[in-house]
Amino acid sequence: MVQQDIASYIYQISGQNPFLCMQCGTCTASCTGREAMDFPPRTVMRMLQMGNLAVLDLKSIWVCSTCLICTARCPRGIDIARLMEALRVINLRRGREVLVAEKIPPELLLKVPQMALTSGFRKLSA
C-alpha cells in the first residue's frame, strides 16, 4: 500500500521520527483512548520502528482523540499526536474513513455541539 518505507513516509507528513522512541510507555500510560485501542501508542511506535505496515489498519489510530497528552509527556520529545495524525492522514487520503456523515445517529445530530461534528469530520472522515 505504501510505496516507501513507512517511517520515512510518516516523517514526511508529521516531521516526527519514530526511531527516537525508547519504548518507555509514558504515552500508553497517559493515553485517553488506550482501553479502546487494539494496540496502545507505545506499540504503535514499535510497529513503526519495525516497518510493520499493519499499523495502518489499527483501530488505535481512529480512537485517538488528539488530546496531546502523549505529546506533552514524551521524554524523547516526540510529537506522538502528529504521528498518529499521519497514520490517519495516509488512510484518509486514500478514502478510508471511519466517520460517515450519513451514518451518524440522528438523535446525536439533534443534540451534540456542532464543534464535535466539525472536529470529528476533520479527524475521521475523508
Binding site: 481512529w62 451518524i104 456542532q114 466539525t118
Partner: protein, 285 residues
C-alpha cells in the same frame, strides 16, 4: 475596556449559556466583548499534518479580521476555538512557510500580531484578582468546586502558553478568590474523549466516569469547564447513563456570574441536563 470577541459556532446555538454568561460576567468586571462583524467556524481542530494548510485558513482569516478591529487582541472562550486560533496564530508568527501560504488565501496580509486571550486570562491579567475579590469576595464561600481544564486549553504548553500543562491553576485562583473551596483531583487535564462521542461513545462514557468519579470522590459539588464539548460529554451523557456521578457541570463563566449576582436569564443554566440551579441560584447576593 473593549476587546474584539469571537464566540464560535456552538456558542450561537447549543451553548448559548456560555456565550451569554461570558459576556455578562466580563461586562460586570468592566470588559466589553465586541463580537466580530463577520466570522466563520474556526476549524475546531489544529491540523497536525505538516502539509495541511487548508485546515488553518479559516482560523487565519478570523485572526486577520480581528486585527482589522484594532486593539491587537481577540477574546474567545470555547476551548477548541481558543486552541485553534492560538496555534494558528503561533504558526503564522513563527513559521515563514505557513505565513506565506496562508496569506495567498487571505484578502489581506496577516503576520500573527493579534494576541489571542481567554476570558480566564482576561480575568487574571486584564481585570486582576483583586478587582474580582472586591466585587464578590466570599460569595462562593464553602462551595466545593472542581476545576476541569480538559485537553485543549493547556496543551501543547509551548504554543498555548496558558498555564502549567500538568497542573494548571488559573481557575482555582479565580474561584478561591471568590471564597470557593477548590478540590484537588487528578483528572483536571484529562481528556473527556472529545469528538469520539460520534465514533466511540463507550470511550467517552468511560472517561466521564473517571473524571466525574474522581472529582466526586474529593467531595466536589460542582464542576466548571470552558468547553461546550466537555460540558456535553460530561453532562448530557448522563441522560443515557444514569449511573454516572450526578455532579452538575457548568461553565466557569456561569459560576462567575453566580458569584457576581448576575440575573438568572444571563446565565443559561437551564441548558444543562443535571440542573445546577438548586445548588447555585440561592448564592446570588
Amino acid at each position: 475596556m473593549k476587546i474584539p470577541y469571537f464566540p464560535g459556532c456552538t456558542l450561537h446555538s447549543r451553548a448559548k449559556g456560555l456565550d451569554s454568561s461570558t459576556r455578562a460576567s466580563l461586562a460586570a468586571l468592566g470588559v466589553e466583548l465586541n463580537e466580530l462583524p463577520q466570522w466563520t467556524c474556526c476549524g475546531t481542530v489544529f491540523p497536525l499534518a505538516l502539509d495541511n494548510y487548508m485546515g488553518m485558513v479559516a482560523a487565519a482569516r478570523i485572526l486577520a479580521n480581528s486585527s482589522r478591529e484594532g486593539g491587537g487582541k481577540l477574546a474567545t472562550v470555547c476551548s477548541f476555538c481558543y486552541h485553534v486560533l492560538k496555534r494558528v496564530n503561533h504558526a503564522i508568527k513563527h513559521n515563514e512557510e505557513v505565513r506565506q501560504k496562508l496569506n495567498t488565501y487571505l484578502e489581506e496580509n496577516y503576520t500573527g500580531e493579534v494576541q489571542v486571550l481567554h476570558p480566564l486570562e482576561i480575568c487574571r491579567q486584564e481585570v486582576g484578582l483583586e478587582v474580582i475579590k472586591e466585587k464578590a469576595a466570599n460569595s462562593l464561600k464553602g462551595l466545593k468546586v472542581a476545576c476541569y481544564y480538559g485537553c485543549m486549553l493547556v496543551r501543547p504548553a509551548a504554543e498555548m502558553q496558558f498555564d502549567d500543562p500538568e497542573n494548571p491553576s488559573i481557575m482555582e485562583e479565580i474561584f478561591s478568590a471568590l471564597g470557593a473551596e477548590v478540590v484537588d483531583y487528578p483528572h483536571k487535564t484529562a481528556c473527556c474523549g472529545s469528538y469520539q462521542i460520534l465514533h466511540d461513545s463507550g470511550l467517552v462514557k468511560q472517561k466521564a466516569q473517571e473524571i466525574l468519579g474522581s472529582a466526586a470522590s474529593k467531595g466536589a459539588e460542582v464542576m466548571v469547564t470552558s468547553c461546550p464539548l466537555c460540558q456535553f460529554n460530561l453532562d448530557a451523557l448522563r441522560e443515557s447513563y444514569p449511573e454516572l456521578p450526578r455532579i452538575p457541570v457548568v461553565y466557569f463563566t456561569q459560576l462567575l456570574g453566580i458569584a457576581l449576582s448576575l440575573p438568572e436569564e444571563s446565565l443559561g443554566l437551564q441548558e444543562h441536563y443535571v440542573d445546577a440551579r438548586p445548588l447555585l441560584l440561592g448564592r446570588r447576593g
